[in-house]
Structure formats: structure tokens, C-alpha cells
Amino acid sequence: MNIIGVLDRPTEGEYILDGVDVAKAKDRELSGIRNQKIGFVFQTYNLISRTSALRNVELPMMYAGVGKKERQERAKHYLEMVGMQDRMTHKPDELSGGQKQRVSIARAMTNNPSIILADEPTGALDSKTGRRIMDIFHRLNQEEGKTIVLITHSNELAEETQRIVTLKDGEIIGERKGSAVC
């Protein structure tokens, strides 16, 4: 996940993302890739607790240098998409786990990345809210055409995807198709 998310450089082999060799790219270029091409969704949400949901969603656009007005419009748009339009001014402390995860999905979407990297996105949620989150991912995949890399321990969730890569102790031990329709 760290390699795919270009948080780290590969020590062996190559990782070429959109024609950029990650191993050789500069820090600044990697920041740009993370900002524009990858949306992160963490198990523990990692929202910034001092600021509102809206400002959390604005954050990646701030680093992309998007103007204030456009930033707010886009942030509102994506919060509406995940059904959080009523709680935009709430701080993360005032939101439930599922709501926080929806905010963090909106945050991952704002710069319109091609990949969404979700690390155990439902791991801290009960099955019902987890279901809602998964539904959002399916929608993003089908309607917006996003590649979603979902990291999970749950075989049940894995079955919902189109392609399953099994890792054990850092080695790929298997690859097969998931049950989802192409």
C-alpha cells in the first residue's frame, strides 16, 4: 500500500505510474502524484480534528493550489455525493465512525484522482455502516470509473471486487478474479 500510494520508494523492482518512475522521482514529484493521482482512505480516517469536515475535504485542493471559492464548491459537491451535506461544519469529533469515513472518501475524491487507495476502510466500523461505505465505493467504481485498491482481511469484502491479489508476509501468493461483474 505504501508503494502503490508512493509514500515509499521501491527498493527492488520498478513502479511506473503514468510514466513516472517512482524510484527515481524527487520528493516534490511524489507529493504531486499523491495529491493528483491517488486518493487515500485510511482505516482510522486520519481527519484533522481541529477543523470542520468541509475544511478537511478542502485540504488536498489547498495543496494543489485551487482557489478558495472553487475549493469550497468542490468540497460541498463531494460531501453531498457521500451524503454528508448536513454535517459539513461539524468537526470530526462530532461525527460517527461511518460519517468520518464518508468525509474521508469525499476528501480522497476532491482532486479527481484515478486511483483510490483504501486501507481497511471498514475495519473500524460495524457491518451495517461498513456496508454503506462499500456501496459508495461500488458507486465510485461504476459511475465515476475510479480504480479502487481495497486492502482487507475480509474474504467476504474481497469477493465483491473484480480482481483479488493475495499477499502473505509481503509476497504475492495468488491472484484470481472476484465475483463482481466486469
Binding site: 505504501n2 509514500l7 520528493d27 507529493s31 495529491n35 487515500f40 486520519n46 484533522i48
Partner: protein
């Protein structure tokens, strides 16, 4: 744009943690407050002292006879005796005489406008039956009277004839006339007044009444205020049985003359011509200008000394800010990791924390400025001066706060910027 965002972010961080922020800023607040207070108090003292000295005539030179200090003497066995002034009394030949002044007028005719001579004939009370007024008697020459620019309310001023004949005629203030003659100034003219000075009565004829100019320095009540009774110089000297010389006099310099330079010339001239063979006394000259500048020098030295102490407080405050920034960065490791994952460059993380440090220091600085101004206002009020805040001090404080913020914020901010995003995200 990022700067504005960061300022808002830092401010909200400060508000979220008020007590910690206040304690962190305390060093900065104390440092800045003392700089502002000291500079403002110094500023108002020097403004009012300078203006009151200028009122007295910044271009006047005071000539005085003072005791020489002896040279350091070294005995044959090598012991050193520091020079001391000899405690001898002034005798007749030590005074500045009229002949000296005449010669001086000739020598320095271009640079001296007039010579003000005065001699005190004591102070006491003017009495008329039960009615009294406090007075001090001063014998003055005509230049002196002219320089004083008295406003005559009745009668005439002292004439050259009065001076030559050492007539016992006086000018009294309106206060004296109010007390003794019930405010009838014309009745005062020509009357005789008795002044009781050191167990003796002296009788003078009043020839004029002048308007007393209350310069605001007096602490006595309106009725009891001591005013000057002007007497011809020669009359005062006769009354004092004094010799033919002066121990102190004032020279009014001509317009455009550098009084500090003239002081040196006068000293040299007098001492070379008249006091070369005098073992114990010499003439010293000082101008208001040099007094004002030495006063200002002294004040600024004190200001600098206290500012250095305040600077140490600022340094300590800065270290406190650095400390709290390091704590804050450790606390917010995950936030830093998240920001990096979302595309923050090292530069933008560094900027965020430097801005935060600047905001802490500037907020502390502003609180310090306000506190310092309040302190200065209270202190100047207590001392009886007009408060005049030091603009330079405020500009200095703001600049210095920013500099402290950048200087002590850089190291923590850089540490944050260099964090590995993976480790930062994993941090618990």
C-alpha cells in the same frame, strides 16, 4: 494563499489550547512588555526634560568658577595618590571680575549676545502689617531683565540709572501686589515694602509690578508661591557686602552659534588668561545643549541596559516557543503523515509550522505591546510626565517577534517537514 490558510489554522490551534498558548507566550509577553514600557517611559521623560530645558534656553552658556582637581601624584617609591579637589574657600581673586567680562565681550563680540548677571540677596517674606508674601530677592543687571521678558502690569522697569546708582528700588510680582496691596497695582507703585530676610528687615521702593508666569513646576499653593523680587545688581551686591566678582553667570549666545564649541573656547580663554597661576580654581563652561545631550545619552544608556535584559527574556521566551513547537509536532505526527499523504510537500509542512511559531510570537508580541503601553502610561502618570509611546519600540517589537518566530520555529518545522510519511502515519 497558503500563508493565509496557515495563519487561520495556527490561530484556531492557539484558541483550542489557551492555557498552553499563554504560558508559551509568557516569556515573549514579558520581554516585549518591558521593552515597550522602558522605551516609552524613557521617551516621555526625555521629551519633557528636553522641552523644559529648551524653555530655559538651550543656547545659554553657564560660566562658573569651580575647584581644580589636582593631578595624580606618584611618590618616589611608586605609590599613586589619586587627584582630589582641595577644600579651600574662594577668595576675592578667584572670582570672575568685571574687567574679565569686558575683555571677554571684546574677544567674543561676534558670538555672545548678552551677559546675564545675577546675585541672590536671600529669600524671605515681604510684610505689610499682618499681610505677607513669600519672595526671593535677586539682584540682576539690565541684560538679565531684558532676557526675562517680564510683562509689566504697572510702573516701570529697572533703568540703567537705577543700576549705576545701586538704588534700592524693586520690581515685584502681581502675587506680591495682590497679597500686600489688595490687587491695586497702581497703589503699589511708589510704596515702600519691608522684606524680612535672615533676621533683618530691608526696605525697598516698588517701581513696577510684573505678571508672574506660573511655569507649572511650583508645588506651593497659589497664595504662598514664592516669587522673585528684582533688585538692581549693584544694590544686591552692596547689601551682601560682596566682592567685585561673580562665581557664576550666564552668557546668551548670538543666533547660529554652536554653544558646545563656544563652551570649550570660553573655558580655554579664561583659564589661559586669568587662571593659569591659580592653583585651586578654574572656570568651567556648560551649555544647556550639552546638558540636554548628556541627559539624553544617559537615558538611552539606561534604556539599552534594560533592553538587553528584556532581550534575554525574549531569548528564553523563544526557547519556550521552540520547546512547545517540538511537543506539538510530536503530538501531531499523524496529522503530518496525513497531510503528506494528501499531497503536502516538505515545503508546505515547513511553512505551516513556521507560520504557527510566528503567530504564537506575534500574538505574544501584541499582548506584550498592549501590556507595555499600559505599564508605561501608569508609570509616566505616576512620575507626572506626559506619556508618549515609542513608535520605534513598537516597530522593533513586531519585527523582533517575527524574527523570534522564524528563528525558533525553523528547527521544529524542518523536523516536521523531514518526517517519513509512512512512519508518521503509523505513529500512535
Amino acid at each position: 494563499m497558503l500563508i493565509g490558510e496557515n495563519i487561520l489554522l495556527a490561530l484556531s490551534g492557539l484558541l483550542a489550547n489557551k492555557m498552553r498558548a499563554l504560558l508559551t507566550m509568557l516569556g515573549i509577553i514579558i520581554g516585549i512588555a518591558s521593552v515597550i514600557a522602558i522605551m516609552s517611559v524613557g521617551n516621555s521623560i526625555s521629551t519633557s526634560v528636553t522641552s523644559s530645558m529648551e524653555d530655559m534656553g538651550v543656547n545659554n552658556i553657564t560660566l562658573g568658577v569651580s575647584q581644580k582637581s589636582t593631578e595624580d601624584t606618584v611618590t618616589s617609591d611608586g605609590r599613586v595618590f589619586a587627584g582630589v579637589s582641595r577644600g579651600s574657600e574662594m577668595s576675592d581673586e578667584d572670582y570672575i571680575t568685571d574687567e574679565m567680562l569686558d575683555a571677554m565681550k571684546e574677544e567674543f563680540s561676534d558670538s555672545t549676545a548678552s551677559i546675564l548677571l545675577s546675585e541672590s540677596a536671600g529669600s524671605g517674606t515681604a510684610e505689610d502689617g499682618d499681610l505677607t508674601a513669600n519672595v526671593s530677592i535677586t539682584g540682576v543687571n539690565s541684560d538679565y531683565l531684558e532676557y526675562e521678558e517680564l510683562t509689566l502690569l504697572a510702573g516701570r522697569t529697572l533703568t540703567d540709572r537705577d543700576q549705576e546708582n545701586a538704588k534700592k528700588v524693586v520690581l515685584v510680582s502681581d502675587r506680591v501686589a495682590d497679597n500686600l496691596f489688595g490687587g491695586d497695582y497702581n497703589a503699589a507703585i511708589g510704596s515702600e515694602i519691608n522684606i524680612y530676610v535672615s533676621n533683618r528687615y530691608y526696605t525697598y521702593a516698588v517701581v513696577g509690578v510684573y505678571e508672574y508666569d506660573d511655569s507649572g513646576f511650583s508645588t506651593e499653593s497659589e497664595e504662598d508661591v514664592t516669587t522673585t523680587v528684582y533688585l538692581p545688581l549693584e544694590a544686591a551686591r552692596e547689601q551682601n557686602h560682596s566682592s567685585t566678582g561673580y562665581s557664576q553667570l550666564t552668557i546668551v549666545t548670538a543666533a547660529g552659534v554652536d554653544s558646545t564649541a563656544l563652551c570649550d573656547e570660553l573655558e580655554t580663554w579664561f583659564n589661559n588668561n586669568y587662571y593659569r597661576s591659580n592653583d585651586s580654581f578654574e572656570v568651567t563652561a556648560s551649555s544647556m545643549e550639552s546638558m540636554v545631550s548628556s541627559m539624553t545619552d544617559m537615558l538611552s544608556t539606561i534604556s539599552i541596559a534594560i533592553s538587553v535584559i528584556a532581550g534575554i527574556s525574549l531569548l528564553v521566551g523563544g526557547i519556550g516557543v521552540m520547546n512547545i513547537m517540538l511537543v506539538s509536532i510530536t503530538e501531531r505526527t499523524r496529522e503530518i503523515g496525513t497531510r503528506k499523504a494528501l499531497g503536502a510537500t516538505n515545503g508546505s509542512i515547513r511553512l505551516q509550522f513556521i507560520m504557527e511559531s510566528i503567530v504564537i510570537c506575534l500574538t505574544g508580541g501584541f499582548i506584550g505591546i498592549i501590556l507595555g503601553l499600559i505599564l508605561a502610561a501608569a508609570a509616566t502618570n505616576l512620575l507626572g510626565y506626559v506619556a508618549s509611546p515609542s513608535v520605534g519600540g513598537i516597530i522593533f517589537s513586531v519585527t523582533f517577534s517575527i524574527l523570534i518566530g522564524v528563528f525558533f520555529g525553523y528547527y521544529p518545522a524542518n523536523k516536521a517537514a523531514k518526517m517519513n510519511p509512512i512512519e508518521a502515519l503509523r505513529y500512535e
